[in-house]
C-alpha cells in the first residue's frame, strides 16, 4: 500500500515537472496554486462524503460564500457608503429581519395557546408572508439607495488571511443551517436539496448588487503576499515578477493545505474519527449505542463546508476578481466530485491526490485537445476537406467531456479510487 502512495505521488510530481517544462513556469505555478486550492475543497468534500456519507451537491454555494467573505473583509473601505444613510437603512432592515424572525418563531409555537393542526399551519404561512413583506419593505429601498448613493457597501480593508478565515466561517455558518434542515433526508433527496439551496444562494449573491456588486464584479482583490505589480514596482521584469509573486502565494496555500491535512488526519485517526466511521457505516447501530448521530453528521457537514469556504476564498483572492456569475455547477461542484471519486473517497491523501491530478487534467485537456484538433485540421485541409473551424473555442469544451469520461470510467473500473480508504480490521 505504501508503494502505491509513493508511486502515485511521485508520478504526480513528474507530471507537474513535465507540465512545467512544456507550458512554462508562470503557467505551472498558477496551475499549482489553483490545484492546491481545489485539493483543499476536495478535502472538505471528503470530510462530508468520505467520512460522513453526506451527499453535497451544493459545493458551488460554499465557494461563492467563501469568495464573498474574502472580498468583503479584504477589499478597501468604500467611504461613500459609510458617510451616507446606507448603514442606518441597513440597520432598519436588520431590525425588520429580527422582527420577522421573532414573528415566525412565535407562529411556530402557537399550539401553546391552543391553535393546532391546520390553523397552526395557516398561522405559520401567514407569519412567513408578513415577515417577508416587512423585510422587503425595508430591504428594497435600502438596496436602491445604496446602489444610487455609493454603488455598494464596499469592503472592510482588513488582512487577506482574515478574509480567508471569514470565508470559511461564513460557509460553515450557512453549512450549519443547510445541514440542520436537510441532513435527515435520504441521499438522493439530500443531493437535490443541497443543489437547490446552492442555486438559491447563487441567485441571491448574483442579485444583491448593493452587497456583492453582482454582475458588475469586484476587483482587484488584494493578495496575502506581494502581488506581481508590487514585484514590478521593485524593479523585477514582468515574467519573473509573476513567477515570484505566484510562488509566494503558492507557499501560503500549500501551508494552509498542510495544516488542514495534519489536523484532519489527526482527528480522523482519533476517537472522533472512529466514531464518525461507525456512524457512516451503520448509523442505526451507532444511534442505538447512544451516539448523537445527527449532531455528529452536522459537525462533519460544517467542517467540510468551512474548508470549501476557505478554498473558495483562496481562489477568489488569487484570481483577484469576485464575479458571482462565473460560478457554474460543472466547474464548481461536479469537478470536485470527480476529484474525490478518482482520488479515493474516505482517504485524505486520496482527496489531495485527486484534487491536484484532476485539476491538472482539467487544465491540460484544453491545450491537448487544441493540439489534437490542430493536427486533425491540418490533416483534413491537406486532404482537401477543409480545416476545422473555431478550434480554440471548441478545445475549451473538451475538458468537460474528458472529466465526464474520467469519472464514469473511474466508477466502473476503480470505484474506490486511486487511493482507497484504509479499512482497519479489529480482530
Amino acid at each position: 500500500m505504501t508503494m502505491r502512495y509513493v508511486g502515485l505521488f511521485s508520478g504526480l510530481f513528474l507530471l507537474i515537472v513535465g507540465v512545467g517544462l512544456f507550458m512554462g513556469s508562470p503557467f505551472t505555478v498558477r496551475l499549482m496554486v489553483e490545484a492546491f486550492a481545489f485539493a483543499l475543497i476536495a478535502m472538505g468534500l471528503n470530510i462530508q462524503w468520505g467520512f460522513g456519507g453526506l451527499f453535497n451537491f451544493g459545493i458551488l454555494g460554499m465557494l461563492m460564500l467563501g469568495g464573498f467573505g474574502v472580498t468583503f473583509i479584504s477589499y478597501p473601505v468604500n467611504e461613500a457608503f459609510w458617510v451616507s444613510n446606507g448603514p442606518a437603512m441597513l440597520g432598519l432592515t436588520l431590525l425588520a429581519a429580527v422582527a420577522g424572525a421573532a414573528m415566525i418563531i412565535l407562529a411556530h409555537n402557537v399550539q401553546r395557546v391552543g391553535i393546532t393542526g391546520k390553523w397552526r399551519g395557516m398561522v405559520i404561512v401567514l407569519a412567513w408572508f408578513v415577515a417577508y413583506i416587512l423585510f422587503r419593505s425595508q430591504m428594497d429601498p435600502a438596496a436602491s439607495y445604496i446602489i444610487s448613493q455609493s454603488g455598494w457597501v464596499g469592503g472592510l480593508g482588513l488582512p487577506v488571511l482574515l478574509g480567508w478565515a471569514f470565508g470559511g466561517l461564513l460557509a460553515a455558518g450557512i453549512g450549519f443551517f443547510v445541514g440542520k434542515v436537510s441532513l435527515g433526508l435520504r441521499t438522493d433527496y439530500l443531493a437535490i436539496a443541497t443543489i437547490g439551496i446552492a442555486e438559491i444562494l447563487r441567485a441571491v449573491i448574483k442579485n444583491v448588487e448593493w452587497l456583492t456588486r453582482g454582475t458588475l464584479t469586484v476587483s482587484p482583490i488584494p493578495w496575502p503576499v506581494p502581488n506581481p505589480q508590487t514585484f514590478q514596482s521593485w524593479g523585477y521584469d514582468p515574467a519573473s515578477s509573476f513567477i515570484y509573486a505566484r510562488l509566494g502565494f503558492l507557499l501560503v496555500v500549500v501551508g494552509v493545505v498542510v495544516v488542514a491535512l495534519f489536523l484532519i488526519h489527526r482527528a480522523y485517526n482519533g476517537p472522533w474519527g472512529r466514531m464518525m466511521r461507525a456512524i457512516r457505516d451503520n448509523h442505526v447501530a451507532a444511534g442505538s449505542m447512544g451516539k448523537d448521530v445527527t449532531r455528529r453528521q452536522l459537525e462533519l457537514f460544517v467542517f467540510g463546508s468551512a474548508l470549501m469556504g476557505i478554498g473558495g476564498a483562496i481562489l477568489v483572492s488569487f484570481v483577484g476578481i469576485y464575479d458571482p456569475s462565473s460560478y457554474q455547477p460543472i466547474h464548481h461542484t461536479f469537478v470536485i466530485w470527480v476529484m474525490l471519486i478518482v482520488g479515493g473517497a474516505g482517504n485524505n491523501f486520496g482527496a489531495l491526490l485527486g484534487g491536484l491530478l484532476i485539476y491538472i487534467v482539467w487544465m491540460l485537456s484544453e491545450p491537448l485537445a487544441q493540439a489534437l484538433f490542430q493536427t486533425l485540421s491540418n490533416f483534413s485541409s491537406d486532404m482537401g476537406w477543409g480545416a476545422i473551424p473555431d478550434i480554440s473555442s471548441r478545445s475549451v469544451q473538451m475538458r468537460v467531456f474528458v472529466l465526464g469520461l474520467v469519472i464514469t470510467v473511474a466508477l466502473r473500473f476503480a470505484p474506490k479510487g486511486l487511493l482507497p480508504e484504509f479499512v482497519r480490521r479489529h480482530d
Binding site: 434542515v181 433526508l185 437535490i192 436539496a193 438559491i200 461536479f334 469544451q397 464514469t408 466508477l411 466502473r412
Partner: protein, 334 residues
Amino acid sequence: MNELVFFFNQVVIGGVVLGSIYALGAVGITLIFGILRFAHFAHGDMMTLGGFITFILAAIVAGFGIAFPLPTGFVVLPLAMGIAAVLALGIDKGFYAPLRARGAKPVTLLIASIGVTMMIQGLIRLFFGSSTRSFFDGEPKKLIRIDLPFEGVTRPISFTEPQLLLVVLTAIAVIALHYFLTRSRLGKGMRAMADNADLARVSGINTRLVVRVTWVIAGALACMAGAMLALDVSLKPDLAFNILLPIFAAAIVGGLGHAYGAIAGGFLLGFAETLAVFNWAVLLRPFRAALPDWFEIPGSLALVQSEYKLTVAFIILVVVLLVRPTGIFKGAST
C-alpha cells in the same frame, strides 16, 4: 378588461407553457427513479441533446427545400424522438447497466449520471459551439392572436404557434402515457416494477425489457421537451441544464416515482413561477378610483423580482423536501 387579458397572457399561458416543459421532463425523471431508483441528473442534457438532434434534422429537411405548413422542427420531431430514445438506450448500456450489474448503490449511478451530463455537454459544445440558434431563421414563427368580442378590450390573447403545439403535444403525451400505464401489458409491468421490483422479477416480468422501455419513453419525452423548449425560446447548449432543477423539483413535489404526480408538479411549479413574478399592480390600476387616496399603487407589486424567477421553484423544492419529502399528493400512485 385589458388588464385581465394581460394577466391571462402572462400567467395562464406562461404557466401552461412552462408547466408543459416541466411536466415532460419530470415524467422522465420520475419514471427512471421509479424503475432504477436513482436520481438521473443527465436528464436535462438529454433534453438539450434532443433539441440539437431535432435542429439537425430540421436543417437537413430545410436543405432539401421542403416547406411545411407547420414549423419544420415540429415535423421532424417524431424521428428525432426515435433517435433520442436509441441514444438513451445506448447511454444506459454504456454507463449505467455495467454499474447495476455490479450491484452498485443508487448513489453511484447518480454520480455516474453527472459524468454522463458532462460528456453530453462537452460534446454538444464541441460540435455546436456555445452560440444561440433559432429554428426560425428560414421560416417565420407564427403568432396567434385571438381578439375578444368584448367592449373596451383592445388587447388580444396572444401566443405563438410553437407554444400551442407544445401544449397540444403535452396533452397527447400525457394521455398516451396514461393509457400505456393503465391498459398495456408492458405499462402495467412498468408500474409493477416501480412498485416492487423483487416481486416483479418473481412474477416473471422481464425486468430488462422494462428498463429498456423506461429509457425509450424517458429519452423520447426528454427530446420532445427539449425540442419544444428550443422552438419556443431558442436553442442553446445550456438550454435544459438550467431547468434541470425545476424539473427535479416538479418530480419531487409530485412524489418521486409517481408519473401523474410529476405532471401535476410540473404545472404547479410552472404556475407558481409565473404567479410569483406577475406584477399585481397591473390588476389594481383599473380600481384606482375605488381605492382610498392615501393608497398609492406601487410601480411593481410582484411577490418576487423576476431575477429570482427560477428561485421560486427551488424554494418550493426545498420546502417540500423538508416538510413532505414524499410529495404533496398523498396516496397518489403509479
